[in-house]
Subunit: 341 residues, 2 copies
């Protein structure tokens, strides 16, 4: 177990996530069931509810972190959970629509321990099912103009994040600030929108909603830093992703960028390894793993995740000063910025 | 010139489309300009406003048929054009988002006489730019819950249409009714939504909006029938698509399905040609073209387009009985169901 992993039950967050799934899933399932047959089959497969033949399965769905943030934020501002269920389901649909498209783009063969949708149904069906899920998400918040605007702006930002991420892979030099901005767009935007939507449906004032957005964005960057660490050092049994796949694909994840910019010998050797074009192979991946750590990329990412979490908590205290009201959001923040999967 | 082509200036629709572009383009350009740099560059390239280096160009953009329907519908119900400009721009964005994704899916190399976005920027960038345009479209109608619902439902239906279309290519037998349902989903849904949104922003009662939707759906199916005819007999100089590409790809477009189900000798020979797996080649495409015509597929599609147009006009008369108010919608219907590009 690595140093950035804590027992999640410390904070009761496993229970929070379980409660969230129980509260949101009926509405989420009903919404997806309203899709026409073809796009519905692909969506239900991707969400882990059915196998490729349409038979029900109980595969591991997502952790429901985004819906949990929506509901916790709604409660934190004194609102009712039931008013925010649609928004909670919407964030989960947006998340999953981006996963469907990202898997096509990255040619990832596995997601949550199962073959990705594009490997089962083909690129075309994965792309259009993702499009349909994105539209369905918006429909769930259609009753509130501010919610539609927030969610749409968030999707635009997610797209730009993915655009930049793809552009990075083709470039030799990426500044750390750029990488962080991209992380905020790719991950922070939706976690921010989740918190803001919770505030909105909980009846919060606009400035509170904005501060909740900043809280979510902060933990989003922390989340992405941890994701990048897991992409290198995560246990494939737990993460469901092949070990070392980020390095094998020469991804410029944040620990890698930090290592490349470290001015160390290990950083220079890593740069030479990344400059090659032949597949890295198992030995190359193992060497790159050592080099990122030696160049300080691992330590930096762990520290930065803590810094981001601390700043996020400041934003939260600004949004809702009462610590009793924000206890659940605080524990979600700790889970997200210290997770091992 | 084929029999289903009429001089479009007969009806003054060229002027209507020109006026629509002039009215909608400022808002459309401003909306796209609000996108972040990466997805914006791909979107502006796709829309024919910039080349791949970002330099402004005056390539032929779309015909603006959907925005024209929105504005004409708003005026037909006694509303003001300026109230419907956002909705008009939204329909053009939805249309273009689906084109971006469809081009990736179909591996089409050319669109509007230019290399498609995915050939210039790669699949990933074309997919995420399409996602961003879809989100931007919704943002433009965020002020009206009914508009968000209509546009989202329409996108879901478009996705299902594209899903079915892809599924057809893998199947040996497709019923004509299925092909028509798919045409309605792929093309009718957005033309229906365009008319309905025009009604909505023009202040029409719900039953009028619903009848306008039926009108748009009817001309949408007519539109798709013409599109299928142009995919076989259209002039590549005018359509901007390579000649015979639909047959070369063994697409089960509606004239082909009608021919396959005709019970004629020509239909049987076409079925044998389609059952092969080797590329058809120029001679095979030429032969298939003759066979579709001999089996009655061409005549059937032309007749069916007329029937759909007539039924659509009945729905329109039901929605807005005053012929003076609907003159523009009527001429757009004639343009769409008798076009040559």
């Amino acid at each position: 177990m690595t140093t950035y992993v804590k027992d999640r039950d410390d904070h009761g967050t496993t229970a929070v996530l379980g409660r969230t799934r129980a509260a949101v899933e009926p509405l989420l399932r009903a919404a997806v069931r309203s899709l026409p047959g073809g796009v519905r089959a692909v969506s239900e497969y991707h969400l882990g509810w059915r196998d490729h033949t349409g038979a029900p399965v109980a595969a591991g769905a997502g952790k429901a972190i985004r819906p949990a943030l929506v509901l916790a934020a709604a409660r934190a501002v004194g609102g009712r959970e039931e008013d925010a269920l649609g928004a909670a389901a919407a964030t989960e649909l947006v998340h999953n629509f981006t996963l469907l498209h990202d898997d096509v783009i990255d040619r990832d063969p596995t997601r949550r321990h199962r073959p990705t949708a594009w490997t089962v149904f083909g690129d075309a069906q994965a792309i259009v099912a993702g499009d349909a899920m994105a539209a369905l998400a918006v429909r769930l918040v259609a009753d509130r103009t501010e919610a539609v605007v927030r969610l749409s702006d968030c999707v635009v930002e997610l797209c730009e994040g993915q655009h930049e991420d793809c552009a990075f892979e083709a470039r030799t030099a990426v500044a750390l600030a750029e990488a962080m901005t991209t992380a905020e767009a790719k991950t922070g935007a939706l976690l921010g929108a989740a918190c803001a939507l919770g505030g909105l449906y909980g009846g919060a004032a606009p400035e509170v909603t904005t501060a909740l957005d900043a809280f979510g964005r902060g933990i989003g960057v922390g989340f992405q830093l941890i994701d990048d660490l897991l992409g290198i050092w995560g246990d494939p049994e737990i993460t469901g992703k092949p070990v070392g796949s980020d390095l094998a694909a020469r991804k410029k994840s944040m620990p890698v960028v930090a290592a490349l910019l470290s001015g160390t010998e290990a950083g220079a050797e890593l740069a030479a390894l990344y400059a090659g074009t032949r597949p890295l192979g198992a030995a190359g991946v193992a060497r790159a793993t050592v080099l990122v750590e030696r160049a300080g990329g691992r330590d930096w990412a762990q520290r930065e995740a803590c810094v981001r979490a601390a700043r996020a908590l400041e934003c939260l205290a600004e949004a809702v000063p009462d610590p009793a009201a924000t206890a659940e959001l605080v524990s979600l923040c700790e889970l997200i910025t210290r997770r091992d999967r």
